[in-house]
């Protein structure tokens, strides 16, 4: 009886993990089709693109994007949609995690 309860609990936890993982993968996979769905505020995004592009290009195509950033070690690099763009205009790479701050719900347009 006791063993059965523990097994059910493990399966439940594993299920939650998998749902979250699938959600992330779903966001990533959307970049291949019509674009990534963004909600207002911070969004964690993985890109799945064949050709890399710069953060400035992403912001030009998506004026509602206020900030694109990523973390390397303990350092965060960001590109801010202020003036003509402030910050390191880094290259967005396939499969890397990025944080995108959007001022509104939108669909991210990719080059």
């Amino acid at each position: 009886m006791k063993f059965g309860f523990s097994k059910k609990k493990n399966i439940l936890i594993l299920g939650v993990f998998l749902i979250l993982a699938i959600s992330i993968m779903l966001v990533s996979s959307l970049s291949n089709s019509s674009g990534i769905l963004l909600r207002e505020g911070k969004n964690g995004v993985f890109f799945n693109v064949t050709n890399s592009f710069n953060a400035s290009t992403l912001i030009k195509l998506n004026p509602e994007v206020e900030v694109v950033s990523y973390k390397e070690g303990n350092v965060t690099f960001g590109y801010v949609n202020f003036m003509k763009g402030l910050g390191d205009d880094f290259e967005i790479m396939n499969g890397m995690p990025y944080e995108i701050y959007s001022s509104e719900n939108s669909t991210l347009i990719l080059p």
Partner: protein
């Protein structure tokens, strides 16, 4: 099951951990009014709740995070206590050695993607110009003549202006010799400080006239001297400028007003009298000596009621004492005779300093002949000389 669980956990942890969390603050720093570029200066951002020691910084301009001239960009979530919506943070330009900084500007952290800090001006130090250091005798310019055994007032005048139009604060000046430096301690021979100069703020427009005076002692070193005058603006940025001058050599000697030999028997030598000689100048001196009875060149040491004392019968020793009764031959051999002509004798009396009072004894005697009676009086003229003596 356990392996599957572990894999799922690691996978998810990786996904969550590697996504950045940033909240950027951006701001503009305008170039200073004295023409210094803001680029390259450092901006510090802090939360006053935790103090400025816990901060994030950025370099303004292309070499910093913003990559853009006059702008900076910091991630306030990188603070040790990460910023949250509603925090009020402060930013300012640090003085990194060129005496330029800025006032503090505040920003409220919002829920937006980033926040913009109000523009700020790179603050310039006080501009100091037209520095002139001299004594009250302006001709010849840039020469200071000290006063024997006294002090000379030296004034360091300058025109000061805060480019931002603020007040001129804490005006001060230091006056120091070529062997000294701005940071040396005060010493009457080499270094003077005036920490409370007079500021006339209504001089002309935004400019102030600043007067810093020094009472320079007679034994201040001869040679090149510098006045460095400075003041702060309301953001504690100090500007300064200098002017040079030359302190001339001063030869001066002081002695007691009277040598009283007392009562001296005829055909005898007086007791030895000590005459202290003080160097009241700013260079080492030898002594020039001569004497006369009534008028210079009369060949006498003293003129008496009856008879007189010839110049050669008043004698001195500039180096050692010979106390007690002495004979005529001892008088002749141990003492040099006074002359009626200006004669420089080696004395090597250095100038005064903090540990030397520049006073040295000399030893005098007089010999009387039988024909001399009554009261005798005469003059000995002491002079300071830079010439080598004999």
């Amino acid at each position: 099951m356990k392996k599957l669980f572990l894999f799922a956990f690691v996978f998810l942890a990786f996904c969550v951990a590697e996504v950045s969390a940033a909240h950027y603050l951006v701001g503009r720093v305008n170039n200073s009014l004295d023409g210094v570029l803001a680029d390259g200066h450092v901006v510090v951002v802090w939360n006053p709740t935790y103090g400025i020691s816990e901060n994030v910084t950025d370099t303004i301009g292309p070499s910093g995070n913003s990559g853009t001239s006059n702008y900076y960009m910091v991630d306030c979530e990188a603070l040790a206590h990460s910023c949250v919506v509603g925090d009020t943070l402060y930013a300012k330009v640090l003085n990194t050695g060129d005496n330029h900084n800025s006032e503090n500007v505040s920003v409220n952290v919002t829920g937006a993607g980033y926040d913009v800090i109000s523009s700020v001006l790179l603050n310039s130090p006080i501009n100091v110009s037209s520095v002139l250091v001299d004594d009250s005798i302006l001709t010849p310019l840039n020469q200071i003549d000290l006063v024997a055994a006294s002090k000379r007032k030296v004034t360091c005048t300058s025109v000061m202006e805060d480019p931002e139009g603020g007040p001129v604060l804490n005006a001060s000046a230091r006056f120091f010799s070529s062997g000294s430096s701005y940071g040396s301690v005060d010493d009457n021979s080499t270094h003077y400080t005036n920490s409370s100069c007079f500021v006339n703020s209504s001089y002309s427009g935004n400019t102030s006239l600043v007067n810093c005076t020094f009472e320079v002692f007679y034994y201040a070193n001869s040679g090149n001297w510098t006045c460095l005058t400075s003041a702060q603006d309301n953001l504690s940025m100090r500007g300064n400028s200098t002017d040079g001058t030359f302190i001339n050599s001063l030869l001066s000697v002081g002695v007691q007003s009277k040598i009283d030999f007392g009562s001296v028997g005829t055909e005898s030598v007086s007791n030895e009298k000590i005459v202290n000689v003080t160097n009241y100048g700013n260079v080492a001196i030898n002594l020039s000596l001569y004497g006369y009875g009534q008028n210079p060149g009369d060949g006498l040491a003293m003129n008496c009621t009856t008879g007189n004392v010839t110049i050669g019968d008043e004698r001195y020793n500039l180096t050692s004492s010979n106390p007690g009764l002495i004979t005529g031959p001892q008088f002749d051999s141990n003492y040099q005779n006074l002359t009626g002509l200006y004669t420089v004798r080696k004395f090597d009396l250095n100038k005064k300093n903090n540990s030397f009072n520049a006073t040295k004894p000399t030893y005098w005697r007089i010999k009387l002949h039988p024909v001399v009676t009554g009261n005798c009086s005469g003059s000995v003229v002491f002079g300071a000389s830079s010439q080598g003596g004999v």
